[in-house]
Symmetry: C2
Subunit: 255 residues, 2 copies
């Protein structure tokens, strides 16, 4: 029987320790191919590159495992992986991360890591975005690895049902277990740092703090706060179904 | 009584005729401020710029209307509009577009136009992304303008209920009316154009064709096909609620 084919990617770039930690886990579960950005791509959301050509270089960064760095965004990497690098056989699983920093709650829409996983899921590939709640380059990914291994194994063994995309966030420190939960309602409060560049021109640099507006149960932020890994089944259908009926009156507009 | 404050933005760039057509419609409905990218930003999704400073320049491109071009993505523009350019008063409405080309179905996740509108909606501002199904620079936006005007007026007059984000796509030609509907399940089939650059290096350029996998009723693609404007109430909560129960077994994972 053929071994499962696993795509590994991320948004922190091909040399990020989080990706190495992820590859280290999944390499025993199947044939792994790494296709990741050649530079950090945090915050790129679901961006694709349409106004420039893309480049692919095979690199030796993961021992015997085939690995390619790409010049585009995380979503570009997934498209190249599926349509250029490995077009002869579909992937059985896409893993993205381990992200250096949280992608819980609203972060899913800004995250290149999760967008890469979503792109694979759009093509019917079971996909998981993994993120550790530690932004440090030298974050300790080891406590998360046994859990990631079991999650990946179980996803490979199942059909996952309706949702092909899991947003998995991992707390720092002792892990109490896993909670399947929903995305918390929270937001970033922006604070642009302003300054003057060496040429005397004014600039604005995006920064901000994360504000958890929700103390509600069953959310990813709550699970993480309590020391659990959060797992949110996610989707690309953004329709607000329960709002459909409320808007029916707009159909009366005529000119 | 103060006139409504309206933010106008897009992803095709501040000089795109679609934005001018949109501003032309909303300028009679309130005080309009234009904050748009200084270059085309199609396909940027929900990308934000965190590794570079942003620039803002006031420009005279819309007569008496205040307008600013920004160096970042569409989402950056909205963040700058709310937190730097007009931080003294919240916007009553954000309009984004009119996009040159469709943002129906899965295009919502790649679209800078819709991501800008979503960003405003995250902050509680009623937001509408408008797109015309014509990619041409010199597309004729005139038939859409009376509908856009009425939609905006009605949104300003109402609280919109649960969904603060409307994805509105407009067919080319005679418009039969408006349908409130859900996002169709469809996908892009990628075809990377391959070539060799002037320096002899291989490149891949993203292209593709849109494949409507769904002939289902009540979708935006169906409404557009029948000559209606599609209006999809949308949201930023990506939780796949009906899949939550299916995944409960993952909570049994222990190490």
């Amino acid at each position: 029987m053929e071994r499962p084919l696993i795509l590994a990617t991320n948004d922190d770039g091909i040399l990020a320790p989080g990706l190495a930690a992820l590859v280290d886990v999944v390499k025993s579960l199947g044939e792994v191919i790494v296709v990741a950005p050649d530079s950090p791509q945090s915050g790129k959301g679901h961006a694709i590159t349409i106004d420039q050509p893309l480049r692919i270089n095979e690199v030796e960064a993961f021992g015997a495992i085939k690995a390619y760095e790409c010049s585009g965004t995380p979503v570009d990497c997934v498209k190249l992986a599926m349509n250029v690098i490995k077009k002869d056989r579909p992937f059985d699983l896409c893993v993205s991360g381990i992200n250096h920093g949280s992608n819980a709650s609203i972060n899913i829409i800004y995250s290149g890591t999760l967008s890469a996983a979503m792109e694979a899921s759009l093509e019917g590939v079971k996909s998981i975005g993994f993120s550790l709640l530690d932004y440090a380059f030298d974050a300790d990914f080891r406590p998360s690895q046994p859990f990631i291994r079991q999650i990946c194994q179980r996803v490979l063994d199942s059909d996952l049902g309706q949702s092909k995309l899991l947003n998995v966030n991992i707390p720092v420190g002792t892990i109490r277990g896993i909670k399947v939960c929903r995305q918390a309602e929270a937001r970033w409060v922006e604070e642009f740092q302003q300054g003057t560049d060496p040429r005397g021109k004014h600039y604005y640099w995006l920064t901000g703090r994360f504000e958890d507006g929700s103390a509600e149960e069953d959310t990813d932020l709550k699970a993480l706060e309590e020391g659990y890994i959060s797992m949110v089944p996610s989707m690309h259908d953004l329709t607000h179904y329960s709002a459909l009926q409320e808007l029916k009156d707009f159909e009366n507009i005529g000119i």
